[in-house]
């Protein structure tokens, strides 16, 4: 299960943070890579680090794929996404994330399905 998702740039500025387990505020702002019961899996895309903190028994390679799928979705949604898109449209990023992962587990594996759903939701706005 995913405990939190973190997007940070190279200076450590958080672009997105989503927590599926409650953490103290102080913990949230600490960046730790050594945990006892869980591990951090991350991938770097240009200047952004996409980090996932998962249980220690989880399949790391699968979550690497998960990160990649998320990036592809963002890319598709924002058309060649860059960091600034994520900054100015952070609330949309959260909405996409909520369609992709819920309660720390994968919700939908099809890029197309998620994009379609986002389209429907946009229409209601």
């Amino acid at each position: 299960m995913i405990r939190f998702i973190l997007l940070q740039n190279r200076q450590g500025k958080t672009r997105l943070a989503k927590y599926y387990v409650p953490l103290e505020d102080s913990e949230k702002h600490k960046v730790e890579y050594e945990f006892r019961t869980h591990k951090v899996i991350y991938r770097r895309y240009a200047g952004l680090f996409f980090s996932l903190c998962v249980d220690i028994t989880d399949n790391e390679l699968a979550y690497l794929e998960c990160i990649h799928l998320f990036v592809e979705i963002l890319d598709h949604f924002f058309s060649n996404v860059c960091e600034l898109d994520l900054v100015f449209n952070f609330h949309k990023v959260y909405l996409i994330l909520d369609e992709f992962i819920l309660a720390g587990e994968l919700q939908e594996t099809s890029k197309k399905a998620i994009i379609e759903r986002m389209g429907e939701l946009e229409k209601l706005e």
């Binding site: 720390g104 994968l106 939908e108 594996t109």
Partner: protein, 876 residues
């Protein structure tokens, strides 16, 4: 218009914050925005609620406190508009977490939204619930979620499924309600619902045994589903790197793992599909490898099927050669778990694993090294060690420490023969001696001393190694010790083995080695101290180089380090003045018993370990030598093969005292002050017992030798009790030792004559000598007896160099004060008195016994008399 009023758009605020150059500026901007938002909230400004929350979320992400916005979120959620609800829920999920009590207020809204007609709103509610609900909310809303699991809209179903996961995590009791609907989800066609259903079932099975049973029945269906997915044709929607929906693959495999664990029948059902997935999945992309990884994990966890296991380990072996670091890393991790299951199969990949030890990535190296360590056994230890030592030369500094430690353990555990052990250890020492721990080279010395046929070979090998790798401190120490011990073998080329190259080493070459060791600026105290002792040994073994050695030793006389100064002066003295005892002083060390050493090392004090470095104390004293086997034990505290296989220093002491009380032949000092008039010993005596109370030098020597962990020279045994006290050198042993040997107690309690009076006895009487004992006990201290011994000369000759020595059994402690003089006038015209103090730990149960030995010169003849006193009054 004030740019920071709530009228600013979100975008502008973000821009303003990004434009700030310093943290202080940013704080100011944020503060202003927060103030604007707060006032807007207070005014209940509807128009900008949406924007306010968005701004608040951004500010929250930057790390500023935003609690004041929480109620606003609630209000937004309660609104009827979709956009407002949406942002309200989003804000709720970001700004709050389940521990806040405010969350409870949302329950009602959530309930309404869960029952809403608009499925998007239902979706919103499920999302929020799934992400942050607390246990109470879970309990309240579980029935709704249950109902929604069967909703017609797949989106809702999948969200409901994930929501249910959270609910059962929070409230495991509710799990039963979800079993049936969850199982129904497993039959879905829609991937999204299927994957969420699978996840729900996985978690259910972890939480509830009942669920596990139920789901096991569905295994057949699951296997079929996996087969369909694996065999499905190209589906662009779910395709990742040529594989259809790898996530579903992985989740299904995981569920199968949970179901198959512990149940052989269920495991059987999956064998085919597992084999298929394992063999047919493409491995050139990460997605494929992810599936294989999950597959391997499943195979290793379910009930045994030999063929599959081998297949799994082969896959891992292939992973090890993959170029991707991540894959090698996970493979090594898995192999470590697999080794407990099937060692043989893992052994086949040993070569690849050893390659990984040389990897460029540090964490892979570490993992690989641990794995190699687990793989070592008697048959492969030689090639493995060879490879590891080769790598040692090339490895990084940080890694060297770990690597050295592991190599040393491997060598120690599995060495098939001594010569191999010594060879490998010498290589390690030459390469990475500075990383080798103390216990390791101590153990090496024990092994060397035990391999008596290899002494010559070892010392020559060390000599050669020293020429090339003198910067490795540990190597220098071992070399210096061996050259000291076996220098004669080195020079005379004793015991040359066939495999050796011939080498001639002269005495002066050997002394050169030790000289370099002493003089080198990087040598630390232990090395220098060991070198000094080695020089002493060599001065005895190479008499022709004695002068040169003496010169070297003298150079340390003025050393600022007490230990070195002391050694230097004492050894110098031995070389100069005590030739007759020198050779026996530094005789070959007795063989250290490995078994006791290992046992002792496991829980011993440092001193006992280090005593292996000192020469044994078989010192004659210039006096005739009657057989002295028990005596040797008495003194031989340093030797680890002391008779009693005792494992603590204090026991040495017991041995010392409890030994068969045969005549204490040639030894000077269990008791007794040594006021022998020999000038040589006087120097030493002065040195060691300089001022009164003389107890202090004893303590100093004790403490210094304890600190430096090296036993002091055998020299001290010559002169004073302090030698033995340093030998014992364990804190526990030290105290009774000191007491025992402390002949210098200033306050003689004999004068306190206020206790029960006991009759005097004649302790000893011969034609030439009489000894009387007078007793007194201090009141209130029944265990301690003060004895005043009076010696009377019954012969017409004057006795000079009069020395009285006594030994007592274990349960007694003996203290001797200095005698009044050591010249006994003839014919009973005077007497020598000496005070003794005996402490009887078995007072009341056992009475005193004592053996005595008296040595003196009469008419220029050395005379020795011995006797036993067994007529002590009872009750002493």
């Amino acid at each position: 218009m004030n740019p920071f009023s709530s009228g600013t758009r979100l975008r502008d605020m973000i821009r303003a914050i990004r434009a700030c150059k310093t943290a202080a500026e940013e704080r100011a901007v944020v503060r202003k925005e927060c103030a604007a938002i707060r006032s807007s909230i207070n005014e209940n400004d509807h128009d900008y609620r949406h924007r306010n929350i968005a701004k608040l979320m951004f500010i929250h992400m930057l790390g500023y406190p935003t609690h004041f916005g929480q109620m606003e979120c609630l209000k937004l959620i309660a609104s009827a508009e979709f956009p407002e609800k949406r942002i309200g829920y989003l804000g709720l999920m970001l700004l709050l977490d389940e521990r806040q009590e405010v969350l409870m207020l949302v329950t009602n809204s959530l309930k309404q939204d869960l029952n809403h007609a608009n499925q998007y709103i239902v979706g919103l509610a499920l999302c929020a619930l799934g992400n942050i609900c607390s246990a109470e909310m879970a309990r309240d809303l579980a029935p709704e979620v249950e109902r929604l699991l069967q909703f017609r809209d797949p989106n809702t179903r999948k969200k409901a499924a994930l929501c249910a996961i959270r609910i059962i995590k929070k409230v495991p009791d509710l799990a039963e309600n979800f079993i049936n609907p969850a199982a129904a989800l497993l039959k879905e066609k829609h991937h999204g619902v299927l994957i969420t259903g699978v996840q729900l079932c996985t978690d259910l099975c972890k939480v509830s045994a009942e669920a596990l049973e139920y789901c096991r029945k569905c295994t057949g269906g699951l296997v079929r589903t996996l087969k369909d997915v694996a065999n499905s044709p190209y589906a662009p929607e779910y395709d990742i790197a040529g594989i259809t929906d790898p996530f579903l693959h992985i989740r299904l495999l995981r569920l199968l793992r949970v179901l198959g664990q512990g149940d052989a029948d269920v495991s059987d059902l999956m064998n085919d599909i597992l084999a298929q997935v394992a063999t047919k999945t493409e491995t050139n992309k990460n997605a494929g490898n992810a599936i294989l990884y999950e597959c391997v994990e499943t195979i290793m966890s379910i009930e045994d099927n030999g063929g599959l296991r081998v297949l799994a380990i082969n896959i891992l072996g292939r992973f090890l050669s993959n170029r991707d670091n991540n894959i090698r890393y996970v493979a090594l991790n898995m192999l470590m778990k697999a080794i407990t299951v099937d060692t043989q199969a893992v052994q086949r990949h040993r070569a690849t694993i050893v390659e990984c030890v040389k990897d460029s990535d540090a964490s892979i190296r570490k993992r690989a090294l641990e794995l190699v360590y687990l793989l070592v056994n008697e048959s492969n230890v030689k090639p493995l060690t060879k490879e590891l030592i080769e790598y040692l030369e090339r490895s990084d500094q940080e890694f060297k420490g770990d690597l050295t430690a592991k190599i040393c353990s491997i060598i120690a555990k599995f060495s098939p023969e001594k010569i191999w052990y010594i060879d490998q250890m010498l290589k390690v020492l030459s390469e990475a001696g500075n990383f080798v721990k103390d216990e390791v080279w101590h153990a090496l010395i024990v092994v060397i001393s035990n391999a008596s046929d290899l002494h010559g070979y070892t010392v020559r090998a060390l000599y050669r190694a020293f020429q090339t790798s003198a910067e490795q401190e540990t190597l220098v120490r071992v070399a210096v010790w061996c050259i000291g011990e076996y220098g004669d073998l080195l020079v005379k080329n004793v015991g040359v083995l066939d495999i050796e190259d011939p080498i001639t080493v002269t005495e002066s070459d050997a002394v050169d080695v030790v000289e370099v060791a002493i003089k080198h600026h990087t040598s630390d105290l232990t090395t220098k101290a060991m070198s000094l002792i080695a020089l002493l040994k060599l001065s005895s073994r190479f008499p022709s180089s004695s002068e040169r050695i003496q010169d070297i030793i003298i150079q340390n006389r003025g050393s600022l380090v007490l230990e070195l100064q002391q050694r230097s002066i004492e050894f110098n003295s031995v070389i100069e003045k005590h030739h007759n005892i020198r050779s026996a002083l530094v005789e070959r060390m007795p063989v250290l018993d490995e078994a006791t050493f290992i046992g002792r090392r496991a829980g011993s004090t440092p001193a006992t370990v280090s005593t292996s470095n000192g020469p044994s104390l078989n010192l004659p004293n210039g006096v005739t030598k009657p057989p002295a086997a028990p005596l040797v034990d008495l003194l031989d505290l340093s030797s680890d093969d002391a008779p009693a296989p005792s494992s603590s220093g204090a026991d040495f002491l017991q041995d010392l005292l409890g030994v068969d009380l045969s005549p204490a032949s040639k030894q000077p000092g269990i008791s007794g002050t040594n006021q022998a008039p020999r000038t040589g010993t006087d120097v030493l005596l002065d040195l060691l017992s300089i001022e009164t109370p003389p107890a202090s030098p004893i303590t100093d020597i004790l403490s210094s030798s304890q600190v430096y962990k090296s036993p002091h020279a055998s020299l001290e045994g010559l002169s004073s009790p302090s030698a033995l006290s340093t030998r014992a050198a364990t804190p526990a042993g030290a105290a009774p030792m000191m007491d025992l040997l402390d002949g210098f107690v200033p306050n003689s309690p004999i004068s306190e004559d206020n206790g029960p009076v006991y009759p005097s006895i004649v302790a000893f009487e011969s034609s030439s000598l009489r000894i009387m004992f007078n007793f007194s006990k201090a009141r209130g201290n029944p265990q301690t007896t003060s004895i005043q011994a009076t010696f009377t000369n019954l012969s017409p000759n004057v006795y000079t160099d009069f020395i009285f020595q006594a030994a007592v059994p274990k349960f007694l402690q003996l203290h001797l004060d200095p005698a009044s003089s050591n010249t006994l006038p003839a014919g009973g015209n005077g007497s020598i008195t000496q005070n003794l103090r005996v402490i009887n730990s078995q007072h009341g149960k056992k009475s005193l016994v004592m053996r005595m030995r008296i040595a003196y010169k009469s008419n220029d003849e050395d005379i020795l008399e011995e006797g036993q006193v067994s007529n002590f009054p009872r009750g002493l």
